[in-house]
Structure formats: structure tokens, C-alpha cells
């Protein structure tokens, strides 16, 4: 029963949702709309579960003094402070804890936002280093890839047009990169998209029909 019930529910709801695309009758569309709205509520509940899970796992790691436990202390303390500040703000401002001037807004704009921007800014340095160390041209195919990458990289920024501005229009880096993006890149992307879409359909059907069960406690 522990296995059969989820499989049965998945099959019934899955088939019902597919049918709702093809049957524009209120007997089908109303329950389908309700289920879609329920999905939003379930996702929101997932955030609460996720937060509780993060708190539990990290608290256990701190108690066991696992390697890197000090960083987990930072995580748990930050999580609790942010939650606490949010609750206090929410009570003081009748729920509008995100308003400009609130402590939650300050945490977001003065701590969270700069930290996340800094983290992403570091990518430029690591990409440059990785380009030097890891982008190895070992085969002819890799050579084509490298040439296309260099053309697109330089052609998409103004310096590419400046550097090749003396050439005829069709030989300029900007024009060549546009052709690469519109023709070979687009063809490959379409093939990947179609392949992925077929894969999603097949996986969806396998889940609905109960063939794919890996979502049930990791069962194959």
C-alpha cells in the first residue's frame, strides 16, 4: 500500500492533467485549475520543510563537530537571525516586512545582495584562469569549437567590430558571430531541444505508467 497508493495517485492525476489540455469542459478544467493552484501551495510548504531540514542537518553536523562545522554555525546563526528579524518586522509592520526601511530590507540590500554579487563577480577571474589551464585543443573538432568560441566571444562585444572595422562587412567578427549564432548554433540547439522534449515526454509517460519509480525513496 505504501508503494501502490503513490503510484495510483501519480497515474490518475497525470492522466487527468494531460486530458485537461484536450477537454475544454468545466468538469475537467475546474479540478485541473484547482490542482495547479494546489501545486503552488505545496511548493511554498516545501520552503518551510527545506528550511527546517537545513536547520536540523546543520545543527547535527555542529553537534558532531564535523569538518567545516564553524561555517555551519555561521549558516545556522544567519538563518535564525534573518527569520527572527522577519518575524519582528512582520509583527511591527502588519505583515509588510519587506517594505523599504525595514530591518529585513536592510539585511537583503546591505548583506545578501552585495555578497551574492561578489560571488558572481569572482567568476570572471576563475573563467580567465580556467581558459588558460583547461581549454585544451587536442582534436580537430576541439579546434573548430575553439575558433567558433573565439569569434563569438570577440564578435559579441564592440571591440570585435572595432578590430575588424577595416574589413568588408561580411568578414567582420560581429557579422560572422551573428551567422554562427543564427545558423550552426541554432541548428544544434533545435536538435537538442527536440531531443530533450522527446525525452521529457518519454520520462513523463514512464512516471505516469509506473515504470519509472526512482522518485519513490530512490527505488529503481
Amino acid at each position: 500500500m505504501k508503494r501502490e497508493l503513490p503510484l495510483f495517485l501519480t497515474a490518475v492525476i497525470g492522466i487527468f492533467m494531460i486530458l485537461s489540455f484536450f477537454i475544454p469542459h468545466h468538469l475537467v478544467s475546474v479540478p485541473a485549475d484547482f490542482m495547479q493552484a494546489t501545486a503552488i501551495v505545496l511548493v511554498a510548504c516545501g520552503y518551510v520543510l527545506g528550511g527546517a531540514n537545513a536547520l536540523k542537518l546543520n545543527s547535527q553536523a555542529i553537534a558532531a563537530r564535523q569538518p567545516g562545522w564553524i561555517y555551519k554555525v555561521v549558516l545556522v546563526v544567519s538563518l535564525l537571525i534573518t527569520l527572527g528579524v522577519g518575524f519582528v518586522d512582520g509583527m511591527r509592520r502588519q505583515g509588510a516586512f519587506l517594505e523599504t526601511g525595514s530591518a529585513s530590507d536592510w539585511i537583503y540590500s546591505q548583506i545578501y545582495s552585495p555578497m551574492q554579487s561578489t560571488l558572481f563577480a569572482l567568476l570572471a577571474f576563475f573563467i580567465a584562469s580556467a581558459a588558460f589551464r583547461a581549454f585544451r585543443i587536442r582534436t580537430v573538432e576541439a579546434g573548430f569549437l575553439a575558433v567558433a568560441a573565439l569569434i563569438v566571444m570577440l564578435g559579441r562585444v564592440p571591440i570585435g567590430d572595432v578590430a575588424t572595422g577595416f574589413l568588408p562587412e561580411w568578414l567582420r567578427l560581429g557579422t560572422i558571430q551573428e551567422w554562427i549564432m543564427n545558423v550552426p548554433q541554432n541548428a544544434a540547439k533545435r536538435a537538442i531541444l527536440i531531443g530533450a522534449a522527446l525525452g521529457v515526454m518519454a520520462t513523463g509517460l514512464r512516471v505516469i505508467l509506473g515504470i519509472e519509480r526512482s522518485y519513490l525513496s530512490g527505488e529503481e
Binding site: 511548493v43 511554498a44 523599504t100 588558460f132 573565439l150
Partner: protein, 273 residues
Amino acid sequence: MLALLQRLDRRWIFLVMGLLVLGPLLFPIKLPIVVRSPARGFYEAIDALPNGSTILMSCDYDPGAIPEMVPMTRTAFRQLLQKDCKMVVTVLWNAGPGLVDSILRETAREFPGKKYGVDWVNLGYKSGNEAVMVVMGQGIANAFPRDYSGQETRSFPIMKNVRDYGSFPLLVNISAGYPGTKEWVQQVQARFHLRMVAGVTAVSAPEFYPYLQSNQLLGLLGGMAGAAEYEKLRGEEGTATRGMGAQSLGHVFVALMIILGNLARRGTKREGA
């Protein structure tokens, strides 16, 4: 020379990259910007809207994407306000609403006559990704019963003529990943036939060219370069245009690193032989 490259400490690479990015930001280099068709499509789709239209704008990003997303959000919002369009703004990234709200309020201050709730409204964040997009098809206020600051959505004058996707002639999506442009195209454009333009990060732009070619997207801004092209079309000189010098030199340096890295490797192979 090759021996020096083989022993190169990566901190030198970091230093040069830092200087190449910082230099043009402190002392801007003016580079000519060539406007390409995807950016022109974005501009023209908005320009072709009848004045006073109500459009849907979804800003799906967080602070990590500020340099690429904020310039295009600001310019698009400005173009729409100048056309007296009304905007219903949503956010599908949980770390985005605060950032988006501050950009919108800052840009709206340039237009003293425009009022919150009348000319634009920020409905804030809703979790659920694609499910939210689908529920919005049943009614925008169903999915977002309250705005970002907690006021009832239906109480705003702008929402009087807004029911579902059929109320909008255009969807402007500025997105840095999932959920974003791909999901809007698949769940909304294809299903509700809503005309759509998108601004995306440079790294994800190639993914959307098939949608551009099939006219599912009427225009596309790819990263900061796309935002700079859009600013040029609008006759503005914003942060994207000013950032083109730094980005250009950064790209040249990465290209140089690929070439030098391979030269150094070939040198090592020869020595080994």
C-alpha cells in the same frame, strides 16, 4: 617565453583580469556599438505598442545578475513609461523582489506624473515556477492576491482592466535562468499566444535563438552587450554602455588565455618528446 607560461602563477591572471576590468570602469573607453537584429526586435516590439497599453513584465533574476539584467530592466521600464504604458510586474525568483522593487521605484521617480498602483504595480514573488505561470492564466489576481508590499491586488486602479493573459498585448521577460524565458515561452507564449520579448544573460542567449527564429520571441537582449545595444536604440548612455569597455577587454583577455594556454601545452609536449 614558453617556460615562463608553463610556470605562470594563476594569481597573475587574476591581477591582469582585475586591472582590465577596473581600468575601463574608472576611465571609460568609448566604443562604437553596433545594433543587431535581436535587440532591434525587442525595441521595435515595445515601440509598436499602442500608447497606454497594459503590459506584463516579469523580472526573474536575483542580485547575482545585476550587471546584465538591471540595465535592460531600467531601459525597458523607461521606454514603457514614456509610451504611457501601464505595467504589471511579477518576480519568480525568491531573491529578486527587493532588487526589482528598488529598480522600478528608482526609475519611476524620473517620471513624476506616474503613480504606483495606477501606472505600474509590483506584484512581487510567488513560489511555484511554471505552476505560477499556468495559474496566472486563470487570473493574475488569483496567482498574486497581494502586491509586494502586502496590499490587495484588486484594490489598485491598474488592475481594473486586468484579468488574465488576454489583458496584455505583450509580455516583457527579463530573466537570468530558471524559471525564466524558456518556461514563459513553453507555458505561456505557446499556450496563450501572448506576444513576447526577452532579455537574458549572455551565457544563456544561444538557447533562445530557436524561439527568436520561430517568432515566438519578437526580440532578444543577450547580456550586457544586448542591453548596450538597446540603450543605443533609445539614445541613452546607461551602465551597460559604460560597461562595454570592461567587458570587451575581459573577453579579449579570456581569448588570449585560451591561445596562450594551448601554446604553453604544446611547448610542454615538445619538451617531453
